[in-house]
């Protein structure tokens, strides 16, 4: 079986940044597996500008942003395979992929980086009544058809959901001569970035109707219109508020779902809020040596943060590979020594067994020690309870489960608790051994909040708070935890990130 130090699943922004960072960290044997016929992922169809302000301090289009990373991948001669889809990943890092040249191939990886991105929530998931005609697209599909293939998907459009792709497509369709009649958003706030509302809707006079949804779809062959109604606080349509819009196109921008079928296949459990794997501060999933970054881990608002996060995953995967290699060398040396002394194969086997036992016992002891530090179930439940109170009714259903349910593989970590309007955190665990000087924790809030603090607690001790004028679910937030501050509280059993009113 072929072996590579690092196998990266996905050649979009996350996979590219991870590859470049891993190479810079000294790993030469890297392979990127990409299912599309070009690198760059979804950026290729995002022909609008606004990318890279954080990373490159300039405004790039999606393809331009991707090109910067692709150029680095090419310069570094990092191998990649296109039109190649990974069909299976195992916990012990065997990766099976398929393409037309090689057929079905299984390779072994020193480390795996999951960078599969996300997919759009389809109409079916909304259970919207009506007919099922042509002309209903998820916004990203329409974006691909328009920007990559060069086709107009329709002439008169209604957009359901105010996710960023929907907003971008509202402008895009308008520029291509289509009439975008309205954007309906079921929540009382937009799911997209403020700047997109301004630049894509306001600038073109496209109305955004908050607390509205599509309640009927008309037209048997091609869409002829939709009925939109206002919804109450439980998201139920209010009778009498129905309005008919004639249109031939309905675009859906109603949420993104990390594509974690492969992670699940590897037995990696997922976080109920993010739909991505639970990771520690090294972005390592509960499966040793399998890392995750980008939209497969949690849906990001800006690609710059994807790149940052992915670079970290790449560096950490590189470290893991190097650590394993030096361990293996040491083991080999020790084995060699023993083998010289051992006279028979039997003796050698016995020695091996003994060594294995010792390691296990040691590891167990260490793990036990650490585990004592972790929070009790009751404490966790209490924190969750508090958190649940904070979520809006609309989200209570979706997020019925706390962010931190699965501890397997992260037994040594200090859990990060999302509370009081903070929906989740990435990472979910922090491992103080080998922690970097600072760790960026990313999260989103559950509702639109004004004049709130974002506070960090080590157990019950307030460590930092930062006033925010506005917090919105559409924008990702972050706090930075430092090794130094954590060193001052060595007994910390949990880290809580919450929003607080004065």
């Amino acid at each position: 079986m072929q072996y590579h130090d690092i196998v990266i699943v996905g050649g979009g922004p996350a996979g590219l940044a991870a590859a470049v960072a891993a190479r810079k960290a000294g790993i030469s044997d890297i392979l990127i597996l990409e299912r599309d016929n070009v690198l760059g992922g979804i950026l290729n169809q995002c022909i609008h500008n606004g990318f890279g302000l954080h990373t490159f301090k300039e405004e790039l289009t999606g393809p331009e942003y991707a090109a910067r990373y692709i150029a680095q991948v090419e310069e570094e001669n990092i191998p990649y395979r296109l039109n190649t889809i990974v069909v299976d990943i195992t916990r012990n890092r065997e990766v099976t992929y398929i393409n037309r040249e090689e057929g079905l191939v299984t390779i072994r990886a020193g480390a795996v980086i999951l960078a599969m991105g996300c997919r759009e929530r389809p109409r079916g998931a909304l259970n919207t009544p009506g007919y099922r005609p042509a002309g209903i697209y998820s916004a990203g599909t329409a974006q691909r058809l328009m920007n990559i293939e060069g086709y107009l998907v329709g002439k008169e459009a209604v957009i359901l959901g105010s996710g960023d792709i929907g907003l971008i497509m509202a402008r895009r369709m308008t520029l291509e001569g289509a009439k975008v009649k309205v954007v309906a958003e079921i929540m009382p706030y937009s799911g997209g970035l403020k700047r997109n509302i301004v630049q894509c809707l306001d600038d073109y006079g496209i109305p955004l109707k908050l607390s509205h949804t599509v309640v009927d779809i008309h037209g048997k062959e091609r869409l002829t219109g939709v009925t939109i109604a206002e919804v109450d606080e439980n998201k139920n349509p209010i009778p009498g508020t129905e309005e008919y819009y004639s249109c031939d196109t309905l675009l859906l921008s109603v949420g993104l779902i990390p594509e974690n079928e492969l992670s699940k296949g590897a037995g990696i459990s997922l976080n109920r809020v993010t739909s991505g794997p639970n990771v520690n501060d090294r972005l390592e999933t509960e499966a040793e040596g399998i890392y995750a970054c980008g939209n497969v881990l949690h849906v990001h608002d800006l690609v710059d943060f994807v790149s940052q996060e992915a670079a970290l995953a790449g560096e950490n995967a590189a470290e893991f590979v190097k650590r394993k290699a030096s361990q293996a060398e040491a083991d080999a040396a020790a084995d060699g020594e023993k083998q010289k002394n051992a006279e028979t194969a039997g003796e050698r086997a016995a020695a091996d067994r003994k060594r294995k036992k010792t390691v296990t016992a040691e590891e167990r002891a260490a793990a036990d020690g650490k585990r004592k530090k972790t929070v009790t179930a009751e404490e966790r439940a209490a924190a969750d309870g508090e958190w649940k109170k904070m979520v809006t009714a609309s989200e209570a259903e979706e997020d019925a489960q706390p962010a931190h349910t699965d501890r397997r593989g992260h037994a040594n970590g200090i859990p990060l608790i999302a509370a009081d309007g903070v929906r989740y955190t990435v990472p979910q665990f922090l491992e103080t051994d080998g922690m970097r000087d600072s760790v960026t924790v990313r999260f989103r809030v559950a509702d639109v909040y004004r004049d709130r603090y974002i506070s960090v607690y080590y157990d019950d001790q307030l460590i930092s708070r930062k006033k925010k004028k506005v917090l919105a679910p559409g924008e990702m937030e972050q706090v930075v935890l430092t090794k130094k501050s954590l060193a001052e509280y060595p007994q910390t059993e949990r880290i809580t990130i919450r929003t607080e009113v004065e």
Binding site: R35, N83, I85, V87, I98, N99, R100, E101, E102, G103, L104, R119, E120, P122, R123, G124, A125, N127, P129, G130, Y131, R132, P133, A134, G135, Y137, S138, G140, T141, R144, L145, M146, I148, E149, G150, Y151, L152, V153, G154, K155, E176, V215, I217, K220, E221, R222, P237, D248, E261, E397, E398
Partner: protein, 522 residues
């Protein structure tokens, strides 16, 4: 036994599962048979939107045609599935009883089943039912268990029957609507309107998936109905035939009443369903029905043959024979009712919902055979549930009757088997590797959710009676059937369809003409 005075011996109206089953059975005989289908593909009406189950046969009234056809159809399924490569599994079914006072009803169902000839029926306790199906609710006090109940892919069942009929010489005419039927001499004269043209695709290098010796598969060209010129949508042609089979689903009354004074009436009875992600597919193993009781008629919960979970249907009599829309009320009813028998159904994993129309006849009975006043006109009308289960039996029953009346001998070289499109992802490693080596396009995955390769999509287009629309491809190989509902694979699939057929991108349809996917070049 082609009779020179008629264009064909038998014209079958309707390319649903019934029409295709009849056509396939007719193709055993020396008869010239054609299927007239108003839409662009087989399996476009009721056959594509139903519970996808093969009923055991305890439901229909004892002694009814329905009961007879159902039990016989069920019995025929193993052989048919093996012959025609139809995905089918006898997963067994249960009818749940929720209260002691309803027990007589369950008993009655048991007795009826035994009378109908349903094998191995048993009444089991609530606890035994829960042992077999751990997700049943505590409300269940008893259940009727029928091990012969099954699940099937209704698309591939219909398509397999059609392809096999085609392989045996039956001609299929799509986008061909029968507008009038007149009695003439001993036969019938049909006014036929062509509403569009079906693109022809040369068989190409598609794998020889059919068994037999590569019989001529070009029967789909409809050469004798279509002229070289583009069809004029309003041109009505005349087709003469000795026999007519009326398998027109919800429209069967319309055709029947054109030739017979003994009028029938078919009411579209809408059934709404929700389909859940394959992650929920093991929530139950058997098909779980509810005994009609004081809470009315329930809905079923069943795994599908492809591993999804299906819940539904509602039952609403409507006037519109095209009313396949869902309503908020009916969708809510599906979820509310399903929860009564099966607990913890993960409704958040719904990936799509849809509605189908059952062709409900006033007397709730299949109408099979000739009306007294219209000899040579054979009804297959009122084919509502258990129509899918009964189709194999109905096919044999009507074909025999017609062949006898026509005096048609059995063909010498009937091709009895048909091979489906390989589902590459489900194959073992070696076979898959071998197939990709032979045809590299089996190595390019287009639909990620269902792991459908480009090769399978190409096959679905190139086969006899191949797909000409996105829905046609979806029904054949499940592209776009998964959790992202064609979000990723739509553009790619459109390209493949356009490339293979020469249909310009702007003309690629979701299904019928008028359902074009795009409105022009950007």
């Amino acid at each position: 036994m082609s009779n020179q005075r008629y264009d064909v011996d038998v014209a079958v109206i309707g390319g649903g599962v019934t029409g295709c089953a009849v056509a396939r059975e007719l193709s055993r005989y020396d008869l010239k048979v054609c299927v007239l289908e108003r839409t662009e593909d087989v399996c476009s009406g009721t056959s594509k939107a139903n519970s996808a189950i093969i009923h055991a046969g305890y439901d229909a009234a004892a002694g009814s045609v329905m009961a007879k056809m159902n039990v016989e159809g069920n019995r025929l399924m193993d052989q048919l599935a093996a012959d025609l490569d139809i995905p089918f599994r006898r997963n067994g079914s249960m009818v749940l009883c929720f209260s002691e006072e309803d027990m007589p009803g369950l008993q009655e169902l048991y007795v009826r089943g035994v009378t109908n000839g349903v094998p191995n029926l048993r009444i089991i306790s609530g606890d035994e039912a829960r042992r077999m199906e751990p997700n049943l609710t505590d409300e269940v006090v008893a259940a009727l268990y029928a091990p012969t109940g099954g699940i099937v892919c209704p698309f591939n069942m219909t398509i397999a029957l059609a392809e096999n009929a085609c392989a045996n010489g039956v001609e299929f005419h799509f986008l061909t609507e029968v507008t009038e039927i007149r009695k003439c001499e001993e036969g019938y004269e049909l006014s036929v309107r062509e509403t569009g043209e079906r693109t022809n695709v040369p068989a190409g290098d598609s794998r020889k998936a059919e068994s037999g010796d590569g019989a001529d598969m070009s029967g789909e060209t409809a050469a004798d109905l279509q002229e070289a010129a583009a069809p004029d949508n309003n041109v009505v042609r005349i087709l003469t035939t000795r026999f007519v089979v009326n398998a027109a689903g919800v429209y069967a009354d319309r055709f029947h009443n054109m030739v017979s004074r003994r009028r029938i009436s078919i009411t579209p009875r809408r059934g709404t369903y929700c389909l859940l992600d394959q992650e929920a597919g093991r929530h139950v193993d058997k098909t779980i029905f509810q005994l009609p009781g004081k809470y009315g008629k329930g809905v079923l919960v069943t795994p599908t043959i492809h591993g999804n979970l299906l819940i539904g249907p509602t039952a609403a009599d409507i006037g519109d024979k095209e009313g396949t829309y869902t309503t908020a009320e009916e969708l809510a009813e599906v979820t509310a009712k399903s929860a009564r028998g099966v607990k913890d159904i993960p409704y958040r994993q719904v990936i799509t919902s849809f509605a189908g129309l059952r062709a409900h006849e006033a007397g709730h009975e299949f109408i099979l055979g000739e009306p007294e006043d219209a000899p040579g006109f054979f009804d297959a009308a009122g084919i509502e549930s258990p129509g899918l289960s009964s189709a194999p039996a109905i096919g044999i029953y009507l074909a025999k009757m017609i062949a006898e009346k026509a005096g048609a001998p059995v063909k010498k070289h009937f091709i009895a088997t048909r091979k489906g499109i390989p589902h590459v992802a489900a194959m073992d490693r070696e076979s898959r590797a071998a197939l990709i080596a032979e045809r590299p396009d089996y190595g390019t995955i287009v639909c990620r959710c269902e792991n459908v390769s480009e090769g399978e999509i190409v096959d679905s287009i190139r086969r006899p009676l191949g797909a000409r629309s996105l829905d046609g491809i979806k029904r054949r190989v499940r592209q776009g059937m998964g959790r992202c509902q064609a979000g990723f694979c739509t553009p790619r699939t459109m390209e493949i369809l356009s490339r293979e057929t020469g249909i310009p991108m702007e003309k690629i349809c979701k299904n019928q003409p008028g359902s074009e996917m795009i409105t022009g070049g950007a």
